[in-house]
């Protein structure tokens, strides 16, 4: 039971004051929302640069596995995209070694309609599941051989790409 209310020595404010205040607050909110919307509509996607440890033979149209002895080198995040790749493809180099995945939970910004190329090297047999819209895609990987596969990001949204063997999330594709 709430305690009895005492008459306040402060006179109650006229309703007009509250209305004015809320209108002012509303105007500020509206202007900030417009500012936020303008910021949000700017193009965001930047093709993420890939590590150059993968051999240059991984061209975007190749979908057959290339036998490769590339070492499971760590990614160099500041390397520049190679000139031989077309401008509208995003390449993601995936390494699975000792039960750990690289990259691990990284977010990759992709434009709608862009091609996403996966270069996967694993020390065990595995499947990479990209939970894109509809049915998603699955990439089979055999131990020791680098596999290249691509998909087209046809739908907008945020999609997980994970390793089936241990359920670890490799990247999250943010398609806008």
């Amino acid at each position: 039971m709430s305690p009895p209310v005492r008459r306040s020595p402060i006179p109650a404010l006229p309703v007009r004051g509250l209305t004015r205040g809320l209108v002012a607050a509303g105007a500020v909110v509206l202007s900030l929302a417009v500012a936020g919307c303008t910021a949000a509509s700017e193009p965001v996607a930047v093709p993420s640069p890939s590590s150059t440890s993968a051999p240059p033979a991984a061209s975007p149209s190749a979908s057959s596995p290339s036998a490769s002895t590339s070492p499971s080198a760590s990614r160099s995040p500041s390397s520049s995209p190679e000139a031989s790749k077309p401008p509208d493809a995003v390449t993601i180099d995936i390494t699975i070694a000792d039960g750990k995945v690289t990259p691990s939970g990284e977010r990759v910004n992709v434009e709608k309609g862009q091609i996403v190329i996966f270069n996967v090297t694993s020390d065990v047999d595995d499947e990479i599941h990209a939970h894109t819209a509809g049915d998603g895609v699955e990439i089979e990987v055999k131990a020791g051989r680098t596999v290249t596969a691509e998909l087209v990001a046809t739908d907008v949204g945020s999609f997980e790409v994970e390793s089936h063997a241990d359920g670890k999330i490799i990247v999250i594709l943010n398609v806008r």
Partner: protein, 440 residues
């Protein structure tokens, strides 16, 4: 090497909130908070529920026939889902997973906001208990022992934590074996408890009823002296006398939603995956940590208000429970922001699969061949606006509710000063919620 289509399993998430929205939302929350603090009314406005009395509607709803029909309908839906759970196939097309994680868990929020305390009358656990009492010819309100009032909703808080664990931590939570185990224990604890303590146990211990009745405090329906009234939701919320354990209930609700969001950040995924400690340990610790952060921060801010109390009979320990109604709108805002698309998409998928609960190719309700309309995912800006609006609206209503409570509980000349810590804590919840939706 070849790209093989998979069956879709709903791991499609919302895009992160654009950072401009985060800034706009945080600024709006701050501006409106200060506006309310300095410009709002200085005398309590919601001491009574007010609103319009609806004696005709009350008579209709209080007819035993109405209650029996409504309870039977809900019970039938649950029985159908139970059939899918215990007799169906362990595939992701089994509707019981979406039933539990989308319909039951998320669906209760909009239903309770719109229909008020309807769950108290249609909860299938109560129907089951009443049926057992009819068979045994006992009074449902009487148990073997008396449940002390001190118990309040503490068992429900524990139950909600358990559900949070199931929803966010439990490995293999979308397999029938795991879900059956949890469902059986839920039934046993609640129905046996009701036999021992009487029907009050269900209100005290059922996590879903506790969630539903907490959310329903912000609905426009309220019973005053037995008559249903259509009221201003804030006035209705102010009438709520939260039982013991309500702070824990609200802390678990807010903390588990916050953890759900936090577990999607790249930092968390990377840290957990690259660590040698099992992800179950990480997730349990994270869930507990979020709940504690919410519970402790809120309680401290509430206890601080005690120094300005207007009624000397109140102890510091009374204040968190007296103020807990102000967090309810924030809980609802968070739930709407995080789970709306899940309800829309997985809710449809559940409705579609409901026609074929056993995986035998049935089409009982005619929905088995329909496709999920996932158009909501093609309009990320609309989704972002909904999320922003939900969080900011929840914050504004929470601030107003806290202001109203402060006027009732604190000395008039300290009513503004006493609210500061609570305001800071609420701004912290709102900004954190927005940042988590931005999910770096």
């Amino acid at each position: 090497m070849t790209l093989v289509p998979l069956h879709g399993i709903g791991t499609r998430h919302d895009l992160p909130l654009p950072f401009g929205f985060v800034v706009a939302g945080a600024a709006a929350a701050l501006v409106i908070s200060f506006a309310v603090l300095f410009l709002a009314w200085r005398r309590p406005r919601y001491a009574e529920a007010g609103g319009i009395a609806l004696p005709g509607l009350t008579r209709v709803l209080d007819q035993p026939v109405a209650r029996v029909v409504a309870s039977a309908a809900v019970f039938a839906v649950y029985a159908w889902a139970a059939m899918a759970l215990f007799l169906g196939r362990d595939r992701l097309t089994n509707p019981v997973f979406g039933f539990v994680y989308a319909w039951m868990w998320v669906g209760l929020v909009p239903l309770s906001l719109v229909l008020g305390q309807f769950w108290r009358h249609t909860n299938p656990l109560r129907t089951l208990h009443r049926g057992l009492c009819l068979l045994a010819r006992t009074d449902p309100d009487q148990g073997l022992l008396r449940l002390p009032a001190r118990v309040g909703s503490w068992p429900a808080a524990i139950g909600l934590f358990a559900f949070g664990f199931l929803e966010l931590v439990q490995p293999d939570r979308t397999t029938l074996a795991v879900l059956r185990f949890w469902a059986v224990w839920w039934l046993v604890i609640l129905v046996l408890g009701a036999v021992v303590f009487g029907r009050r146990w269900i209100a005290s211990a059922d996590p879903f009823e506790a969630y539903a009745s907490t959310v329903a405090q912000l609905s426009p329906w309220r019973r005053v002296d037995g008559t249903l009234r259509l009221v201003n939701p804030l006035a209705g919320l102010n009438q709520w006398a939260p039982p013991p354990g309500s702070v824990a209930v609200v802390a678990v609700l807010l903390g588990s939603t916050a953890f759900d969001s936090f577990a999607n950040t790249s930092w968390w995924i990377r840290t957990v995956q690259d660590s040698d400690v099992s992800s179950t340990v990480w997730a349990t610790a994270g869930l507990l940590a979020m709940i504690l952060i919410v519970g402790v921060s809120f309680s401290l801010a509430a206890v601080w208000m005690h120094r300005h109390r207007s009624d000397d009979l109140l102890t510091p320990g009374d204040f968190p429970r007296l103020m807990v109604s102000s967090v309810v709108p924030i809980v609802i805002g968070y739930a709407v922001a995080h789970y709306t698309t899940l309800l829309i998409v997985e809710g449809q998928r559940t409705a579609i699969n409901f026609s074929d609960p056993l995986g035998l190719g049935w089409n009982v309700f005619g929905s088995a061949e329909m496709g999920v309309n996932a158009a909501i995912f093609t309009v990320p800006t609309l989704v972002a606006v909904i999320q922003l609006a939900a969080i900011v609206t929840g914050h504004v209503l929470g601030i107003v509710a806290a202001h109203e409570k402060s006027l009732a509980l604190l000395k008039p000349d300290a009513a503004l000063r006493g609210q500061w810590p609570m305001l800071v804590v609420m701004v912290f919840y709102t900004c954190s919620g927005l940042l988590l939706l931005f999910s770096p």
